[in-house]
């Protein structure tokens, strides 16, 4: 079968902007996109540039955008992708500067992974002599499955508008060490993640969970880090109060009151409160501020459910 592959070519040294180029390959049964690209490079265009190594979804070097989504080229059957989308359009990962064709600058990615201290530490930051631990794998919730391919960061919508954000891969890595009982630096690592580019930047858009080729589910690890943070006493910020006050309101009323929540979240933070007041007034005049504490049917059952889990924990 002859398959057309459209590649977004770009060499910043000579090209003004990226441009598409069509290639045609004779696709064998079960051929992956990576095999096709290697064939094109060998037979048609030696300048075609991409990273790859293991060809087995292990090394994490061949992540790219295919028909708009992040995928490992070595794991992607050409025929399936063609059947699904009716076309094969290949380009570099987003949220990272392009060096050439599908090769992107990954230095910021590595720096962010390094920034979470991805190793077992003592309280003073020295390395812990490691010992194999039984049953460790279950405790890590697959956060240790990451192959550092960058697909999640490329798909991350928070990263897209805030490039300082540590991002899903680095934070999943941070959780991997927070969850490891051999690590003795849980508190300082957690504290470092409370900053402006840390765990609270995530908008929970689920893109990282969706695109990860190794089912690491970074967003779920970020949620775990948030829970650990609140448990460890980092609970006074507006971010943490979003979770605790939301939960309290539902525990009392059975439902959320969107007009009340902002007030509870920003309580005591004059600057933030002043910012929400004008909007609150506008919302009021458009009939968007429900009257607080209207009795909700079923609230008794909800309160009982809350009490049950409070007691159990």
């Amino acid at each position: 079968m002859r398959v057309k592959i459209t590649v977004q070519k770009f060499n910043p040294e000579v090209d003004q902007k990226p441009y598409p180029r069509d290639y045609f390959v004779e696709a064998s049964r079960g051929m992956t996109l990576l095999s096709a690209l290697l064939k094109i490079k060998a037979e048609t265009d030696g300048t075609l540039t991409f990273r790859a190594s293991c060809r087995a979804a292990i090394c994490g070097s061949c992540a790219m955008q295919v028909n708009g989504s992040q995928k490992l080229a070595c794991k992607l059957p050409l025929k399936e992708e063609l059947e699904h989308h009716g076309k094969i359009e290949v380009g570099p990962m987003a949220n990272m500067p392009v060096i050439k064709d599908m090769v992107v600058q990954m230095n910021p990615f590595w720096e962010k992974v390094r920034a979470v201290d991805p190793f077992l530490m003592t309280k003073d930051g020295a390395e812990v002599p490691t010992e194999a631990l039984k049953d460790l794998h279950e405790k890590l919730h697959n956060a240790d499955g990451c192959i550092l391919c960058g697909a999640c960061v490329s798909a991350c919508t928070a990263y897209e508008v805030s490039s300082g954000f540590l991002g899903p891969a680095a934070l999943a890595k941070a959780y991997r060490f927070q969850a490891d009982p051999r690590d003795q630096a849980h508190l300082p690592r957690l504290e470092a993640l409370q900053g402006p580019d840390g765990i609270w930047d995530c908008v929970r858009c689920v893109f990282c969970v969706q695109v990860c080729p190794k089912d690491v589910r970074p967003m779920e690890q970020i949620v775990r880090l948030r829970r650990l943070s609140i448990d460890a006493g980092f609970s006074d910020s507006v971010e943490a109060r979003h979770i605790t006050e939301f939960t309290k309101v539902v525990g009392k009323e059975g439902r959320l009151n969107e007009a009340l929540l902002p007030v509870l979240m920003t309580w005591g933070n004059i600057k933030k409160m002043l910012r929400i007041i004008p909007l609150g007034i506008k919302m009021f005049f458009h009939g968007k501020t429900p009257f607080p504490f209207k009795r909700v049917p079923g609230a008794d059952q909800v309160r009982a459910i809350f009490k049950y889990w409070e007691k159990a924990k």
Partner: protein
């Protein structure tokens, strides 16, 4: 088919126009609906952050209530509720140990028990799959002839393991509904992105950038309005649009936004001949007047 309507807190709170327009539209279409009067919040993914067991039990209560009424289809009208309640349902159905543990809590506190027989479906899916777009077409008396940008939001598409209705990479259900009302769907990248709602209060620079980017792109592509199946997306794109515009203009002083945001039932309602007033459109912060002028 009988549906138990799970309205969600937003439709009963800050976006009452969603509830009103839904009732108008499903009434006209003759969908068989019983409202879950004593529903509780789905948790929006936030209660999960505090305590996943608690969130599961709250959602199990909703599912068990419908089950006890003998109804095995729950209708949501909020993309976030769909993702959270639907996702919880999926896990409760597939993970027996989880279901047992949650049922113990549920029985102890409410006497209810969930057996896993319920399906959770957003109105958007019900119209496309159960009701049918052709059937819907018969109710369209006022074809709109305007350009509408579909905005799916996150939870109705992702994770596809739990949602699985639309193709997360290239969804089509909103486009189908836009065509069914005689309007033209706008193609733009933002349609499957995030509206920024979850961090609006704590990280407004992130949320406002998202609103500015998505609305800006829709506007650039000639949209007369945007439509969303999620009231939280609506809040962020509508209530915060003016602020997003201010932010945009710090860098691009000539750019303006001003794109009306419609709830999905409002779009359908307009094409069925309901008045903007009946559909609660005076409650929007971004004025829908230019759109209404164009369709009249």
């Amino acid at each position: 088919m009988k549906y138990a309507l799970f309205p969600g807190c937003a439709a009963k709170g800050a976006t009452p126009e969603l509830y009103a327009s839904t009732m108008k539209v499903v009434g006209r279409l003759g969908l068989d609906i019983v409202e879950l009067e004593a529903f509780n919040c789905c948790g929006a993914g936030v209660i999960t952050e505090a305590d996943p067991d608690l969130a599961y039990t709250l959602n199990a209560r909703t599912l068990a209530t419908a089950e006890k009424m003998g109804i095995n289809n729950v209708m949501t009208i909020c993309g976030t509720c769909q993702g959270i309640l639907g996702g919880a349902n999926k896990n409760l159905q597939e993970d027996e140990a989880l279901r047992e543990r949650i049922n113990r809590a549920l029985k102890d506190t409410t006497g209810l028990e969930y057996h896993g027989t319920v399906e959770v479906k957003h109105l958007q899916w019900i119209l496309v799959k159960d009701f049918g777009v052709d059937e819907l077409g018969k109710f369209i008396t006022h074809p709109l002839h305007v350009s509408i940008a579909p905005f799916y939001g996150c939870y109705i598409l992702r994770p596809s393991r739990a949602t699985g209705f639309d193709d997360w990479e290239n969804p089509t259900s909103l486009e189908k509904l836009i065509r069914a009302v005689g309007a033209y769907p706008v193609e733009y990248d933002g349609r499957t992105k995030c509206c920024g709602f979850p961090v609006l209060l704590e990280k407004d620079q992130i949320s406002l950038s998202m609103v500015a980017q998505n609305v800006g792109e829709a506007k650039e592509k000639g949209s007369d309005a945007m439509v969303t199946p999620c009231p939280l997306c609506h809040m962020s794109l509508d209530i915060y649009q003016e602020r997003a515009e201010d932010r945009l203009q710090q860098e691009h002083p000539d750019q303006t936004l001003g794109v009306p945001i419609l709830h999905l039932p409002q779009l359908l309602g307009l094409a069925m001949g309901f008045s903007p007033k009946e559909l609660g459109m005076k409650r929007h912060l971004v004025s829908p007047a230019p759109l209404i002028e164009k369709i009249q």
